[in-house]
Every structure is written in structure tokens, then in C-alpha cells.
Symmetry: none
Subunit: 97 residues, 2 copies
Amino acid sequence: MDFQPDAEIDHEGPVTPYRQLAGILRARIARGEWQPNKPISSETQLVQQYGLARTTVRRAIAVIVEEGLVFTVPQRGTYVAPQQAVPDDKASPGQAG
Amino acid sequence: MDFQPDAEIDHEGPVTPYRQLAGILRARIARGEWQPNKPISSETQLVQQYGLARTTVRRAIAVIVEEGLVFTVPQRGTYVAPQQAVPDDKASPGQAG
DNA sequence: GTAGATTTGTTCGTATGTATA
DNA sequence: TTATACATACGAACAAATCTA
């Protein structure tokens, strides 16, 4: 399953919204939309852009943080991890918390 | 992480500007750009040189004051503390008399 | 003493972003 | 979804002390 970077969230589908968003973010990082050590869109922006609740956005971010794709700096933002191999869709980089 | 003495501030990065500046000042002191008991650049000069707000500059200075690298004299300036090794990480050098 | 420039000290307001309830 | 808290950053203004002339 591949998510388009500009895809919309399907609230009716079998895949939960937060997993959809995680896939979208993964795709946006993969295409180099956000550079390493640069911030991805803020939670507020993602909320507005995809019409999701904040908790849902945070859950999605938590997923890709777990994957090592990004890291969150408290009171600062979420940043693209330096030099990471972006997985196609699903991946287990081995290291999870 | 090491800061170049002439580095520019990255407002987009995960490290807050005031911490970046603190690192830069640390580096400039370490290279002997400012001698012990001699004033470092004034807040206004640092504001102009790095394009930061004064509050941000003051915050950075507060960090290295806390580390004992410099000391501030009201209405005079901020001076390099006498005889102390610049710490790699942290330090609590004795008081300068 | 007066005047001006410089420098640190302090406070207020606005904005952004994450953290938590 | 809403509200509050905390951290950070910028901008502006004024106070107080120092130095120079």
C-alpha cells in the first residue's frame, strides 16, 4: 500500500486515519519534501491540512518517530532524522524504543 | 556537536538559537578570541552579528555565565572568567576573585 | 554638573510549538 | 475539541550605571 504525499484521509476505509497519515508523512519524507534536521509541518498545520484531531496527528507522528524517521524536540518541533533509509511502506528498522 | 566560531544561526534546526549561540561563544572563548578579564562582544553587537533578538542573546550569555565561562558586570559588560579550562560538556569551576 | 553614547537590567506584548488535562 | 501550561523567539520600550567630552 502506498500513500500519496497529497492524499486525503479516508475515514471510511479499513486503515485507521493515524496509520494513513503516518504513511503520507513517510512518503513526503521519502520524496525529500523535508530535509534532514529540518522540521516537518507542525502538529497544528497537519491538523488543519488533513482535517484530523490533534491526538490523531500526534499518534501518526509517534509511529514514524518509533521508526526512526523523525525525532521530536520538546517545545520545538518534529525533525527529519539525519541520513535515514526511508522504508517503502512498512518497515522495522530494528530499533524501536 | 561543535559550533564554529563564525557559524551562523540555523533558525530551522532542532537546536534552539540561544543554545547555538552559547556554543559559538564557547568556541570563540576556547580559541582565545577574548582574553581572560576582557569583555566579549556587547549584547548589541551580538544581536547585529548573529541576527538574533536581544532576549535571545541574553539567554545565551546566561548559559555560559552559569557555566562559569564568563561573568557579567552591570552597566559594564560581560567578561571572560580568569583561568579556567573550557569544558567539553559541563563544568563548575571555582569562583573568580 | 550637564549631555550624549554605550551597556546591562527589566518588563510588556505578540507569536509559535509542544505537553498535558 | 477546547483550554491551559511551558519553552522559545522576536520586538519594543524604559531604567540605571558607566564612560567620554
